[in-house]
């Protein structure tokens, strides 16, 4: 399986996810579950066959991590849907997944077979996969915050806020896993668990910013809109950590996290 076959799997998955999103709007949860799961299976079978044909987990290049991100977005959407029954969530996750799929279709980047020794570790897959899942869930929280800030008329209900908070809690939990798995791996690979490498510095920034949101929301008297704006800022900082530092002058040549 190669990158050329991606379009068939992508179209198949997106169609299935779109049907799922439509079914969720029409209050037909069983159809929504079935088609979304089928779409995930189709998409994952592509990831799996890439894994086999590359003879390494497809986690190294930005294009490969986007592949996981596109997979986790509908999965996160499905989990949220099953837990809290929000009709709109599957539409959002499908659209977001579609965006990342399109990026990969039009700018796939080179997917060579080689995996340098520094990345050959049992920590590699869990570290990146857990982070991608966290980013997907926090992406959903950001969409929710945007919706509440810009499109929603009237005040935010406590139920709507609970959705946002729950998404942040789940996302932050996975982000903590990703960060600490990274620390344990770094000890095995580089001799130290935390070196304030630019990627690590920005991971700490992102992690702390979501912690601020959580604590601020626990404050009895707080400004709801400010909290939501905080979530948007947190997601921008997350982008910096994810790919922004590749373009940051202060990080050039000093990060051990640049592989491709």
């Amino acid at each position: 399986m190669t990158w050329e076959h991606f379009i068939y799997f992508a179209v198949g998955s997106v169609v299935l996810w779109a049907v799922g999103a439509w079914a969720a709007w029409k209050d037909r949860p069983s159809v929504a579950y079935t088609t979304t799961v089928l779409g995930l299976l189709v998409f994952f079978s592509f990831i799996l066959s890439m894994w086999i044909s590359l003879e390494r987990p497809p986690l190294r290049t930005m294009g490969e991590t986007r592949l996981w991100y596109s997979f986790f977005l509908p999965l996160a959407g499905l989990i949220v849907y099953s837990r809290w029954k929000y009709k709109w969530i599957l539409s959002f996750s499908t659209i977001l997944a579609l965006v990342f799929i399109c990026v990969n279709l039009f700018k796939p980047e080179i997917h060579s077979k080689t995996l340098m020794p520094a990345l050959q570790s049992p920590w590699f897959a869990p570290h990146v996969i857990v982070y991608m899942f966290a980013y997907a869930v926090l992406g959903a929280a950001t969409v929710m915050a945007l919706y509440l800030l810009i499109f929603k008329k009237g005040t935010v209900t406590s139920e709507e806020f609970d959705i946002t908070d729950n998404l942040v809690y789940v996302g932050l939990a996975f982000m903590t896993f990703g960060m600490l798995f990274g620390a344990l791996w770094a000890k095995e690979a580089w001799g130290h668990y935390w070196s304030w490498d630019p990627k690590e510095t920005w991971a700490a920034i992102t992690w702390l910013t979501y912690l601020i949101y959580i604590h601020y929301r626990l404050l009895p008297k707080h400004n709801a809109r400010l909290a939501l704006w905080g979530l948007l800022v947190a997601f921008i900082l997350l982008q910096m950590c994810w790919w922004g530092i590749n373009y940051l002058p202060s990080a050039q040549g000093s990060s051990v996290h640049t592989y491709s």
């Binding site: 080689t114 789940v170 600490l180 095995e188 001799g191 702390l208 990080a251």
Partner: protein
Amino acid sequence: MWTKPWTMKEGFLIGGGMIVAGLALELSVGSVDWDAFAWPVNGIVLGGFLMLIAVIWLLRKKFYGCQFLGTYNAAIPTMVYAVVLTIIMGLTRQQEHGSWLNNMLSFWPFVLIYVMMAVILGQVVIRRLTQLTSWKRDIPFLLNHLGLFLAMTTATLGNADMQRLKMITSQGEPEWRALTQEGAIKEMPLAIELKQFIMETYDDGSPKRFASDIQILTKSGKNIQTTVDVNKPAEVEGWKIYQYGYDTQMGVKSRISILELVSDPWLPLVYTGIYMMLGGALCMFVLGERRKRV
């Protein structure tokens, strides 16, 4: 302002006070000299720090300021300052011998804000321990907060005791000297002889594997044959031995291998903190639904 109960305004002012105090220290005594914290100084400082946290806790009824340190209104501004300073760190090129913003880890305002964060963590941990209500809430809370406290303080204070040395091993010659980061030669309690340096490449020539077959002899008389790979260090008597480099001119035929030897006596404490935080994150995910406010 300053009428009880204090709000985040006071929190931001106190944090700002820490920054100003940090700037004053930076100007008067220069940046933080972390090397000075080598054992036993770091042990004493940790003991003193724990006592400070206990004293603040005990004085909470007498001085409102001490009580305030255990509130969200103190915690949130401190985290905001920490984030802002860390963002500046992320945007500025960091240099080991830099000063002020170019060496944030030794910049007093940065250090003091993180110290304050640890003090606040200390306060909330003690309070929770004295007011346990339900395990479902208390265990995740303690794992998260105490875990972070432990990992932060022991990683920072223990750093001065961490030794990282490079040893250049050659085939057929046991080596017991290693180079410190400053370039000084240090005699090690173990000798390493390179049996064989291993380098494999992919078809396109990019590296696939770097490893060293080595024999380790320790002062205590142990004789160990092992292979050290990138990502698979060996461990002998508190030293982790990493594959670090080789003779790049010779490539596959390199007859030397550079190993890195790392000792970090505080690691078990830091790892306890990290594992607690992992447990806390697991709780947050499993039990994680945010409690409904009344």
